[in-house]
Symmetry: none
Subunit: 241 residues, 2 copies
Protein backbone atom coordinates (compact mmCIF):
# COMPACT_ATOMS: atom_id res chain seq x y z
CA UNK A 1 0.00 0.00 0.00
CA UNK A 2 1.18 3.52 -0.78
CA UNK A 3 1.94 6.11 1.86
CA UNK A 4 -0.67 8.72 2.56
CA UNK A 5 -1.23 11.46 0.02
CA UNK A 6 0.46 14.84 0.25
CA UNK A 7 -1.97 17.55 1.30
CA UNK A 8 -1.26 20.66 -0.76
CA UNK A 9 -2.77 23.94 0.44
CA UNK A 10 -2.70 26.43 -2.41
CA UNK A 11 -2.40 30.09 -1.41
CA UNK A 12 -3.85 29.54 2.06
CA UNK A 13 -4.73 32.83 3.75
CA UNK A 14 -4.94 32.30 7.49
CA UNK A 15 -2.25 30.61 9.54
CA UNK A 16 -5.01 29.37 11.80
CA UNK A 17 -6.48 27.35 8.93
CA UNK A 18 -3.11 25.85 8.12
CA UNK A 19 -2.85 24.72 11.73
CA UNK A 20 -6.34 23.27 11.67
CA UNK A 21 -5.58 21.43 8.45
CA UNK A 22 -2.46 19.93 10.08
CA UNK A 23 -4.52 18.80 13.03
CA UNK A 24 -7.14 17.28 10.73
CA UNK A 25 -4.40 15.43 8.83
CA UNK A 26 -2.64 13.95 11.84
CA UNK A 27 -5.91 12.67 13.28
CA UNK A 28 -6.01 10.30 10.37
CA UNK A 29 -2.32 9.62 10.05
CA UNK A 30 -1.36 12.05 7.27
CA UNK A 31 1.86 14.02 7.74
CA UNK A 32 2.98 15.35 4.33
CA UNK A 33 1.81 18.99 4.25
CA UNK A 34 2.84 21.26 1.39
CA UNK A 35 2.07 24.96 1.11
CA UNK A 36 1.97 26.88 -2.17
CA UNK A 37 2.57 30.60 -1.73
CA UNK A 38 0.94 31.03 1.69
CA UNK A 39 -0.36 34.59 1.84
CA UNK A 40 1.35 35.54 5.09
CA UNK A 41 4.57 33.66 4.53
CA UNK A 42 5.86 30.70 6.48
CA UNK A 43 6.23 29.86 9.33
CA UNK A 44 3.09 31.57 10.55
CA UNK A 45 2.71 32.09 14.32
CA UNK A 46 -1.06 31.53 14.16
CA UNK A 47 -0.64 27.99 12.84
CA UNK A 48 0.85 26.34 15.93
CA UNK A 49 -1.91 27.04 18.43
CA UNK A 50 -4.58 25.95 15.94
CA UNK A 51 -2.76 22.68 15.32
CA UNK A 52 -3.52 21.53 18.88
CA UNK A 53 -0.40 19.44 19.10
CA UNK A 54 0.09 18.47 15.46
CA UNK A 55 3.30 20.52 15.44
CA UNK A 56 5.21 17.74 13.78
CA UNK A 57 3.16 18.21 10.63
CA UNK A 58 3.79 21.97 10.62
CA UNK A 59 7.52 21.55 11.24
CA UNK A 60 7.86 19.19 8.31
CA UNK A 61 5.72 21.32 5.99
CA UNK A 62 7.40 22.40 2.77
CA UNK A 63 6.75 25.63 0.90
CA UNK A 64 6.63 26.02 -2.89
CA UNK A 65 6.01 28.87 -5.30
CA UNK A 66 3.71 27.04 -7.65
CA UNK A 67 1.40 24.06 -7.70
CA UNK A 68 3.47 22.41 -10.39
CA UNK A 69 6.57 22.52 -8.17
CA UNK A 70 4.64 21.32 -5.13
CA UNK A 71 3.47 18.16 -6.86
CA UNK A 72 6.65 17.62 -8.86
CA UNK A 73 7.24 14.16 -7.40
CA UNK A 74 3.62 13.00 -7.59
CA UNK A 75 2.29 11.10 -10.57
CA UNK A 76 -1.22 11.23 -9.15
CA UNK A 77 -2.75 14.62 -8.48
CA UNK A 78 -6.30 15.33 -7.38
CA UNK A 79 -7.93 18.76 -7.12
CA UNK A 80 -10.69 19.37 -4.60
CA UNK A 81 -13.28 21.70 -6.02
CA UNK A 82 -17.01 22.04 -6.26
CA UNK A 83 -16.90 23.47 -9.76
CA UNK A 84 -15.79 21.68 -12.83
CA UNK A 85 -14.90 24.92 -14.68
CA UNK A 86 -15.41 23.52 -18.12
CA UNK A 87 -12.50 21.11 -17.73
CA UNK A 88 -13.00 17.63 -19.06
CA UNK A 89 -11.55 15.85 -16.07
CA UNK A 90 -12.99 12.85 -14.24
CA UNK A 91 -14.78 13.75 -11.02
CA UNK A 92 -14.57 11.31 -8.11
CA UNK A 93 -16.00 11.25 -4.60
CA UNK A 94 -13.71 11.39 -1.55
CA UNK A 95 -14.34 7.69 -1.11
CA UNK A 96 -13.29 6.87 -4.66
CA UNK A 97 -10.28 9.17 -4.44
CA UNK A 98 -9.19 7.51 -1.22
CA UNK A 99 -9.52 4.08 -2.72
CA UNK A 100 -7.45 5.17 -5.71
CA UNK A 101 -4.78 6.79 -3.56
CA UNK A 102 -4.40 3.62 -1.55
CA UNK A 103 -3.88 1.67 -4.75
CA UNK A 104 -1.84 4.20 -6.72
CA UNK A 105 1.56 3.01 -7.73
CA UNK A 106 3.42 6.13 -6.60
CA UNK A 107 2.90 9.26 -4.51
CA UNK A 108 -0.42 11.07 -4.68
CA UNK A 109 -1.16 14.70 -3.92
CA UNK A 110 -4.46 16.38 -3.17
CA UNK A 111 -4.85 20.10 -3.87
CA UNK A 112 -6.99 22.40 -1.75
CA UNK A 113 -7.63 25.98 -2.86
CA UNK A 114 -7.56 29.20 -0.89
CA UNK A 115 -10.27 29.78 1.70
CA UNK A 116 -12.50 32.07 -0.35
CA UNK A 117 -11.50 31.68 -3.94
CA UNK A 118 -10.60 28.03 -4.25
CA UNK A 119 -8.30 26.75 -6.96
CA UNK A 120 -7.67 28.57 -10.22
CA UNK A 121 -8.75 26.76 -13.35
CA UNK A 122 -5.15 26.26 -14.48
CA UNK A 123 -4.33 24.75 -11.11
CA UNK A 124 -7.22 22.33 -11.40
CA UNK A 125 -5.93 21.49 -14.85
CA UNK A 126 -2.69 20.20 -13.31
CA UNK A 127 -4.69 17.50 -11.58
CA UNK A 128 -5.68 14.35 -13.35
CA UNK A 129 -8.91 14.18 -11.43
CA UNK A 130 -11.29 16.35 -9.47
CA UNK A 131 -12.49 15.32 -6.03
CA UNK A 132 -15.85 16.74 -5.05
CA UNK A 133 -17.43 16.29 -1.66
CA UNK A 134 -21.14 15.81 -2.27
CA UNK A 135 -22.74 18.51 -0.16
CA UNK A 136 -26.17 19.97 0.34
CA UNK A 137 -26.95 21.87 -2.88
CA UNK A 138 -28.85 24.45 -0.82
CA UNK A 139 -26.01 24.98 1.62
CA UNK A 140 -22.47 24.23 0.64
CA UNK A 141 -20.15 25.74 3.18
CA UNK A 142 -17.19 23.49 3.85
CA UNK A 143 -14.17 25.23 5.24
CA UNK A 144 -10.62 24.29 4.40
CA UNK A 145 -9.92 22.12 7.43
CA UNK A 146 -13.25 20.35 7.03
CA UNK A 147 -12.47 19.49 3.43
CA UNK A 148 -9.06 18.20 4.53
CA UNK A 149 -10.51 16.12 7.34
CA UNK A 150 -13.06 14.41 5.10
CA UNK A 151 -10.36 13.43 2.62
CA UNK A 152 -7.98 12.30 5.37
CA UNK A 153 -10.75 10.35 7.07
CA UNK A 154 -11.64 8.53 3.88
CA UNK A 155 -8.02 7.74 3.22
CA UNK A 156 -7.51 6.33 6.71
CA UNK A 157 -10.45 3.98 6.40
CA UNK A 158 -8.53 1.46 4.43
CA UNK A 159 -5.65 1.50 6.84
CA UNK A 160 -4.94 -0.61 9.85
CA UNK A 161 -3.80 2.35 11.95
CA UNK A 162 -7.26 2.81 13.17
CA UNK A 163 -8.02 2.36 16.82
CA UNK A 164 -9.85 -0.92 17.09
CA UNK A 165 -13.55 -0.29 16.91
CA UNK A 166 -14.65 -3.85 16.81
CA UNK A 167 -16.61 -5.60 19.43
CA UNK A 168 -13.84 -7.88 20.60
CA UNK A 169 -14.84 -7.79 24.19
CA UNK A 170 -18.55 -7.78 23.70
CA UNK A 171 -19.93 -10.75 25.49
CA UNK A 172 -21.49 -13.42 23.30
CA UNK A 173 -25.12 -14.38 23.81
CA UNK A 174 -25.57 -16.98 26.52
CA UNK A 175 -26.17 -20.63 25.72
CA UNK A 176 -29.88 -21.20 25.47
CA UNK A 177 -30.03 -23.17 28.72
CA UNK A 178 -29.05 -20.04 30.64
CA UNK A 179 -31.86 -18.08 29.08
CA UNK A 180 -34.22 -20.95 29.76
CA UNK A 181 -33.24 -20.79 33.43
CA UNK A 182 -34.22 -17.12 33.59
CA UNK A 183 -37.48 -17.75 31.79
CA UNK A 184 -38.42 -20.63 34.12
CA UNK A 185 -37.54 -18.59 37.18
CA UNK A 186 -39.70 -15.73 35.96
CA UNK A 187 -42.61 -18.05 35.14
CA UNK A 188 -42.44 -19.50 38.65
CA UNK A 189 -42.21 -16.11 40.30
CA UNK A 190 -45.13 -14.83 38.30
CA UNK A 191 -47.18 -17.93 39.00
CA UNK A 192 -46.70 -17.33 42.71
CA UNK A 193 -48.32 -13.89 42.41
CA UNK A 194 -51.17 -15.23 40.25
CA UNK A 195 -49.95 -13.30 37.24
CA UNK A 196 -51.19 -15.93 34.80
CA UNK A 197 -54.84 -15.17 34.81
CA UNK A 198 -57.18 -16.30 33.29
CA UNK A 199 -55.64 -19.76 32.94
CA UNK A 200 -56.60 -20.23 29.30
CA UNK A 201 -54.47 -17.24 28.39
CA UNK A 202 -51.39 -18.65 30.13
CA UNK A 203 -49.73 -20.27 27.11
CA UNK A 204 -50.05 -17.12 25.04
CA UNK A 205 -48.79 -14.94 27.88
CA UNK A 206 -45.84 -17.24 28.42
CA UNK A 207 -44.98 -17.09 24.75
CA UNK A 208 -45.06 -13.32 24.84
CA UNK A 209 -42.69 -13.29 27.80
CA UNK A 210 -40.41 -15.78 26.08
CA UNK A 211 -40.31 -13.69 22.93
CA UNK A 212 -39.51 -10.53 24.88
CA UNK A 213 -36.68 -12.18 26.78
CA UNK A 214 -35.25 -13.99 23.78
CA UNK A 215 -35.02 -10.90 21.67
CA UNK A 216 -32.23 -9.29 23.63
CA UNK A 217 -29.59 -11.98 23.11
CA UNK A 218 -28.23 -11.39 26.59
CA UNK A 219 -24.91 -12.76 27.72
CA UNK A 220 -24.64 -15.24 30.57
CA UNK A 221 -23.46 -12.45 32.86
CA UNK A 222 -26.46 -10.31 31.97
CA UNK A 223 -28.80 -13.21 32.55
CA UNK A 224 -27.24 -13.75 35.97
CA UNK A 225 -27.88 -10.09 36.76
CA UNK A 226 -31.50 -10.39 35.65
CA UNK A 227 -32.01 -13.52 37.75
CA UNK A 228 -30.75 -11.58 40.73
CA UNK A 229 -33.19 -8.78 39.94
CA UNK A 230 -36.15 -11.15 39.65
CA UNK A 231 -35.12 -12.78 42.92
CA UNK A 232 -34.85 -9.43 44.68
CA UNK A 233 -38.25 -8.29 43.44
CA UNK A 234 -39.83 -11.61 44.35
CA UNK A 235 -38.34 -12.04 47.78
CA UNK A 236 -39.00 -8.50 48.82
CA UNK A 237 -37.03 -6.43 51.24
CA UNK A 238 -33.69 -7.86 52.22
CA UNK A 239 -33.86 -9.78 55.45
CA UNK A 240 -37.63 -9.56 55.64
CA UNK A 241 -38.35 -12.35 53.19
CA UNK B 1 -36.00 5.90 4.40
CA UNK B 2 -35.80 7.51 7.78
CA UNK B 3 -35.10 11.20 8.18
CA UNK B 4 -31.64 12.26 9.24
CA UNK B 5 -30.59 11.63 12.81
CA UNK B 6 -30.99 14.21 15.53
CA UNK B 7 -27.63 15.65 16.56
CA UNK B 8 -27.59 16.00 20.34
CA UNK B 9 -24.85 18.17 21.84
CA UNK B 10 -24.56 17.36 25.53
CA UNK B 11 -23.42 20.21 27.77
CA UNK B 12 -21.66 22.09 24.94
CA UNK B 13 -19.44 24.84 26.28
CA UNK B 14 -18.79 27.36 23.52
CA UNK B 15 -21.52 28.93 21.42
CA UNK B 16 -19.01 29.06 18.61
CA UNK B 17 -18.82 25.28 18.58
CA UNK B 18 -22.59 24.98 18.52
CA UNK B 19 -22.60 27.24 15.46
CA UNK B 20 -19.88 25.20 13.79
CA UNK B 21 -21.75 22.01 14.48
CA UNK B 22 -24.87 23.51 12.88
CA UNK B 23 -22.84 24.46 9.83
CA UNK B 24 -21.34 20.98 9.63
CA UNK B 25 -24.82 19.46 9.85
CA UNK B 26 -26.44 21.57 7.17
CA UNK B 27 -23.62 20.87 4.73
CA UNK B 28 -24.86 17.32 4.70
CA UNK B 29 -28.55 17.98 5.00
CA UNK B 30 -29.06 17.48 8.74
CA UNK B 31 -31.28 19.99 10.52
CA UNK B 32 -32.44 18.48 13.84
CA UNK B 33 -30.12 19.98 16.48
CA UNK B 34 -30.81 19.37 20.18
CA UNK B 35 -28.87 20.89 23.06
CA UNK B 36 -28.69 19.39 26.52
CA UNK B 37 -27.89 21.95 29.22
CA UNK B 38 -25.66 24.24 27.14
CA UNK B 39 -23.19 25.82 29.56
CA UNK B 40 -23.89 29.43 28.59
CA UNK B 41 -27.62 29.08 28.03
CA UNK B 42 -29.48 29.43 24.77
CA UNK B 43 -29.64 31.29 22.46
CA UNK B 44 -25.95 32.07 22.47
CA UNK B 45 -24.78 35.11 20.50
CA UNK B 46 -21.52 33.41 19.51
CA UNK B 47 -23.33 30.61 17.66
CA UNK B 48 -24.75 32.61 14.74
CA UNK B 49 -21.53 33.97 13.28
CA UNK B 50 -19.87 30.54 13.51
CA UNK B 51 -22.76 28.92 11.69
CA UNK B 52 -21.86 30.76 8.48
CA UNK B 53 -25.42 30.89 7.27
CA UNK B 54 -26.80 27.74 8.85
CA UNK B 55 -29.07 29.93 10.99
CA UNK B 56 -32.09 27.80 10.21
CA UNK B 57 -30.55 24.93 12.16
CA UNK B 58 -29.85 27.16 15.16
CA UNK B 59 -33.32 28.69 15.11
CA UNK B 60 -34.94 25.28 15.17
CA UNK B 61 -32.61 23.92 17.87
CA UNK B 62 -34.37 22.61 20.97
CA UNK B 63 -32.98 22.71 24.49
CA UNK B 64 -33.39 19.97 27.11
CA UNK B 65 -32.28 19.45 30.69
CA UNK B 66 -31.21 15.84 30.33
CA UNK B 67 -30.08 13.42 27.67
CA UNK B 68 -33.04 11.16 28.41
CA UNK B 69 -35.46 14.00 27.66
CA UNK B 70 -33.57 15.02 24.54
CA UNK B 71 -33.87 11.57 23.01
CA UNK B 72 -37.32 10.80 24.39
CA UNK B 73 -38.84 10.28 20.94
CA UNK B 74 -35.91 8.29 19.52
CA UNK B 75 -35.83 4.49 19.69
CA UNK B 76 -32.28 4.47 18.30
CA UNK B 77 -29.61 6.29 20.26
CA UNK B 78 -25.89 6.30 19.51
CA UNK B 79 -23.16 7.80 21.70
CA UNK B 80 -19.96 9.10 20.13
CA UNK B 81 -17.04 8.37 22.38
CA UNK B 82 -13.53 7.02 22.17
CA UNK B 83 -13.70 5.24 25.48
CA UNK B 84 -15.85 2.30 26.26
CA UNK B 85 -15.91 3.00 30.04
CA UNK B 86 -16.59 -0.55 31.04
CA UNK B 87 -19.96 -0.60 29.37
CA UNK B 88 -20.79 -3.68 27.40
CA UNK B 89 -22.32 -1.93 24.42
CA UNK B 90 -21.73 -2.63 20.73
CA UNK B 91 -19.23 -0.28 19.07
CA UNK B 92 -19.73 0.72 15.44
CA UNK B 93 -17.83 2.90 12.98
CA UNK B 94 -19.38 6.10 11.60
CA UNK B 95 -19.99 4.22 8.36
CA UNK B 96 -21.84 1.42 10.11
CA UNK B 97 -23.79 3.85 12.26
CA UNK B 98 -24.82 5.81 9.17
CA UNK B 99 -25.95 2.67 7.43
CA UNK B 100 -28.00 1.68 10.45
CA UNK B 101 -29.53 5.13 10.84
CA UNK B 102 -30.65 5.06 7.22
CA UNK B 103 -32.33 1.73 7.79
CA UNK B 104 -33.69 2.32 11.30
CA UNK B 105 -37.42 2.08 11.55
CA UNK B 106 -37.89 5.24 13.62
CA UNK B 107 -35.99 8.36 14.64
CA UNK B 108 -32.32 8.10 15.55
CA UNK B 109 -30.25 10.39 17.76
CA UNK B 110 -26.50 10.74 18.01
CA UNK B 111 -24.99 12.08 21.23
CA UNK B 112 -21.85 14.21 21.30
CA UNK B 113 -20.23 15.08 24.62
CA UNK B 114 -18.86 18.37 25.88
CA UNK B 115 -15.72 19.75 24.25
CA UNK B 116 -13.21 18.63 26.87
CA UNK B 117 -14.89 16.04 28.97
CA UNK B 118 -17.05 14.14 26.52
CA UNK B 119 -20.05 12.15 27.63
CA UNK B 120 -20.55 10.86 31.16
CA UNK B 121 -20.73 7.11 31.53
CA UNK B 122 -24.38 7.21 32.47
CA UNK B 123 -25.10 9.26 29.36
CA UNK B 124 -23.33 6.70 27.19
CA UNK B 125 -25.42 4.04 28.90
CA UNK B 126 -28.59 5.63 27.51
CA UNK B 127 -27.38 4.78 24.03
CA UNK B 128 -27.83 1.35 22.56
CA UNK B 129 -24.57 1.65 20.66
CA UNK B 130 -21.30 3.52 20.73
CA UNK B 131 -19.93 5.21 17.59
CA UNK B 132 -16.18 5.58 17.50
CA UNK B 133 -14.29 7.41 14.77
CA UNK B 134 -11.15 5.38 14.16
CA UNK B 135 -8.38 7.91 14.64
CA UNK B 136 -4.61 7.92 14.89
CA UNK B 137 -3.80 6.25 18.20
CA UNK B 138 -0.81 8.57 18.57
CA UNK B 139 -2.83 11.70 17.93
CA UNK B 140 -6.52 11.74 18.54
CA UNK B 141 -7.72 15.31 18.53
CA UNK B 142 -11.10 15.60 16.90
CA UNK B 143 -13.05 18.65 17.90
CA UNK B 144 -16.80 18.72 18.31
CA UNK B 145 -17.67 20.12 14.90
CA UNK B 146 -15.28 17.70 13.21
CA UNK B 147 -16.89 14.75 14.91
CA UNK B 148 -20.28 16.07 13.82
CA UNK B 149 -19.19 16.60 10.24
CA UNK B 150 -17.81 13.09 9.88
CA UNK B 151 -21.05 11.57 11.11
CA UNK B 152 -23.16 13.89 8.95
CA UNK B 153 -20.99 13.18 5.92
CA UNK B 154 -21.34 9.44 6.35
CA UNK B 155 -25.06 9.74 6.79
CA UNK B 156 -25.46 11.80 3.63
CA UNK B 157 -23.54 9.33 1.52
CA UNK B 158 -26.18 6.71 1.24
CA UNK B 159 -29.16 9.01 1.12
CA UNK B 160 -30.08 8.53 -2.48
CA UNK B 161 -29.45 4.81 -2.35
CA UNK B 162 -31.08 3.93 0.89
CA UNK B 163 -33.90 1.50 0.57
CA UNK B 164 -36.21 0.54 3.37
CA UNK B 165 -34.88 -2.79 4.49
CA UNK B 166 -36.65 -3.39 7.73
CA UNK B 167 -39.24 -6.00 8.50
CA UNK B 168 -42.45 -4.09 8.15
CA UNK B 169 -44.49 -6.30 10.41
CA UNK B 170 -42.04 -6.35 13.29
CA UNK B 171 -42.99 -3.83 15.89
CA UNK B 172 -40.62 -0.90 15.89
CA UNK B 173 -38.58 -0.19 19.01
CA UNK B 174 -40.29 2.09 21.45
CA UNK B 175 -39.38 5.75 21.70
CA UNK B 176 -36.70 6.21 24.30
CA UNK B 177 -39.09 7.80 26.81
CA UNK B 178 -41.03 4.52 27.07
CA UNK B 179 -37.89 2.58 27.85
CA UNK B 180 -36.91 5.25 30.34
CA UNK B 181 -40.23 4.70 32.11
CA UNK B 182 -39.51 0.99 32.52
CA UNK B 183 -35.99 1.66 33.74
CA UNK B 184 -37.17 4.18 36.31
CA UNK B 185 -39.90 1.85 37.52
CA UNK B 186 -37.39 -0.97 37.94
CA UNK B 187 -34.90 1.27 39.76
CA UNK B 188 -37.63 2.33 42.18
CA UNK B 189 -38.84 -1.20 42.75
CA UNK B 190 -35.31 -2.40 43.36
CA UNK B 191 -34.55 0.49 45.68
CA UNK B 192 -37.55 -0.49 47.79
CA UNK B 193 -36.06 -3.95 48.37
CA UNK B 194 -32.59 -2.54 49.13
CA UNK B 195 -31.16 -4.06 45.98
CA UNK B 196 -28.67 -1.23 45.53
CA UNK B 197 -26.11 -2.18 48.07
CA UNK B 198 -23.47 -1.03 48.82
CA UNK B 199 -24.39 2.55 47.87
CA UNK B 200 -21.10 3.32 46.14
CA UNK B 201 -21.79 0.57 43.62
CA UNK B 202 -25.23 1.98 42.78
CA UNK B 203 -24.26 4.03 39.71
CA UNK B 204 -22.40 1.12 38.14
CA UNK B 205 -25.21 -1.28 38.95
CA UNK B 206 -27.75 1.09 37.44
CA UNK B 207 -25.68 1.43 34.28
CA UNK B 208 -25.51 -2.34 33.98
CA UNK B 209 -29.28 -2.60 34.30
CA UNK B 210 -29.74 0.17 31.78
CA UNK B 211 -27.43 -1.50 29.30
CA UNK B 212 -29.21 -4.82 29.69
CA UNK B 213 -32.62 -3.26 29.11
CA UNK B 214 -31.49 -1.00 26.27
CA UNK B 215 -30.00 -3.85 24.32
CA UNK B 216 -33.28 -5.51 23.46
CA UNK B 217 -34.82 -2.64 21.54
CA UNK B 218 -38.25 -3.61 22.78
CA UNK B 219 -41.43 -2.24 21.27
CA UNK B 220 -43.81 -0.09 23.29
CA UNK B 221 -46.14 -3.06 23.68
CA UNK B 222 -43.33 -5.23 25.02
CA UNK B 223 -42.30 -2.53 27.44
CA UNK B 224 -45.88 -2.33 28.68
CA UNK B 225 -45.83 -6.07 29.29
CA UNK B 226 -42.55 -5.82 31.20
CA UNK B 227 -43.87 -2.99 33.34
CA UNK B 228 -46.79 -5.20 34.23
CA UNK B 229 -44.39 -8.00 35.16
CA UNK B 230 -42.27 -5.76 37.36
CA UNK B 231 -45.42 -4.44 39.01
CA UNK B 232 -46.73 -7.97 39.64
CA UNK B 233 -43.43 -9.12 41.14
CA UNK B 234 -43.17 -6.00 43.27
CA UNK B 235 -46.69 -5.89 44.59
CA UNK B 236 -46.79 -9.55 45.41
CA UNK B 237 -49.76 -11.86 45.37
CA UNK B 238 -52.85 -10.40 43.75
CA UNK B 239 -55.20 -9.03 46.31
CA UNK B 240 -52.72 -9.44 49.15
CA UNK B 241 -50.61 -6.39 48.31
Amino acid sequence: MSAGPAIVLVRPQLGENIGKAARAMLNFGLTDLRLVAPRDGWPNPAAGPAASGADMVLEQARVFDTVAEAVGDCPFVYATTVRRRGLVVPVVSPEEAAREVRGNDGPSAILFGAERSGLETDEVAIAGKIVTVPINPQFGSLNLAQAVILIAYEWSKGRALAVPTRNDNLEPPAPHAHLEGLIEQLYESLARVDYFHPPDRTPATKNTIRTILTKARWSSREIQALRGIVRALTEGRRGSA
